[in-house]
Symmetry: C2
Subunit: 200 residues, 2 copies
DNA sequence: ACACAAACTGACCCATCGGTCAACTTGATA
DNA sequence: TATCAAGTTGACCGATGGGTCAGTTTGTGT
């Protein structure tokens, strides 16, 4: 019962890919205010072509975020059956920060939070984080009062703090991930002033 | 040898103050893209008046940031001779996060980093942080490998992480400040992957 | 009260941006 | 190779934003 739709043309799929790459580069350079015209020029196509592939700028952003979110969700799944629960959680945080460092989409997240596909992936990722945190907590690798929401919120912090420097070393986030993860460890933990927030 | 300049008119200084308040509110609501027209309307003046007081939007932002930066620098100075070096550093971090929570100027910082007055205040603040960190380190309140640059960069993190929630409880940052500060404590500290960055 | 400079006003200018569309190309199919 | 829908193009549109300025109002020193 599939409608007899033609397969997409070869140049079309190529242009779509070029546009996503160009958009990523432009957003990285100029932030969320990067213009559609610049993105089109960088991809070597006309502005109208952008809107043939993505109905609006929001949808283009959502397509970018969806790709990265899917990659990260998949990566998180790979840690779910790691034999060492503590290293599994740290490994996920490292993976997440590394990806954020290479493709800074933090500022695009809010712009695409309303997108249903992004929301679905986000919830799926959150589910994996819940498993990772539960196992790490049961193993005594992290303190008992840390929740999955805490980890989710803290994921971007290591990269974020480095952005106050003009030319941060590309691996500097590892330093701050180390500090923050030490703060999650049971050793020397002091009581927290506020309860963990609910998700979302 | 002072030139015989008149004192400013009463309505002028009042309008300048109204504009700063309106700008703060508009930036808080709409981010850095808040428009000059909206700011002027909120302050109850015409658009041209904005440019009489501030040569450009950048300068308006710089004036706002200068005010908050001066407040924070002054606050930091108040902790310099606190008898407990650990509590002094924690007190400063608490003050800084509290101020960031009430007046979110993080996203305006980059827009005003080039301003010489902002740079001067930033350096003065950094000097105070250096004193606070040195005393806390000597007292054994924080681990030996934490530098003033680390503290400076981490200052905004507690508030930042809460911003991924739509309606974060206003004091939620205290939870993440607790976690991050625990990560700075000597107890259970693990070696850091990267050396501390130079300032700036 | 007067005079004047400082301050205010809002219409206007120009650049930019997201998005549209009618005309034109082109890749796949038969 | 003929055909045509799918894809591309770039001029165009309306909205919006930062910034200007000639004309007007107003606070203030005399």
């Amino acid at each position: 019962m599939t409608s007899p739709t033609r397969p997409p043309r070869a140049d079309s799929v190529r242009n779509r890919e070029l546009l996503l790459q160009a958009a990523e580069a432009e957003f990285a350079e100029h932030g969320a205010e990067a213009s559609i015209a610049d993105i089109a020029a960088r991809a070597g196509v006309a502005k109208g072509t952008v809107f043939r592939h993505f109905a609006s700028k929001e949808e283009l952003i959502a397509a970018l975020v969806t790709g990265h979110m899917a990659t990260l969700t998949e990566g998180a799944a790979g840690f779910l059956d790691d034999p060492d629960p503590g290293l599994a959680l740290l490994g996920f945080l490292t993976l997440a920060a590394d990806q954020r460092q290479q493709h800074d989409v933090n500022f695009l997240l809010t712009a695409s939070a309303a997108n249903p596909e992004v929301a679905r992936l986000r919830d799926e990722l959150f589910g994996h984080i819940e498993s990772l945190v539960a196992r790490a907590r049961d193993a005594g690798a992290i303190r008992a009062d840390i929740t999955a929401t805490d980890v989710f919120l803290l994921t971007c912090a290591p990269v974020h703090v480095t952005e106050f420097l003009e030319n941060p070393p590309p691996d500097l986030w590892r330093r701050y991930l180390g500090i923050i993860f030490d703060g999650m460890r049971p050793e020397g933990a002091s009581p927290l002033a506020m309860p963990a927030p609910k998700w979302p």
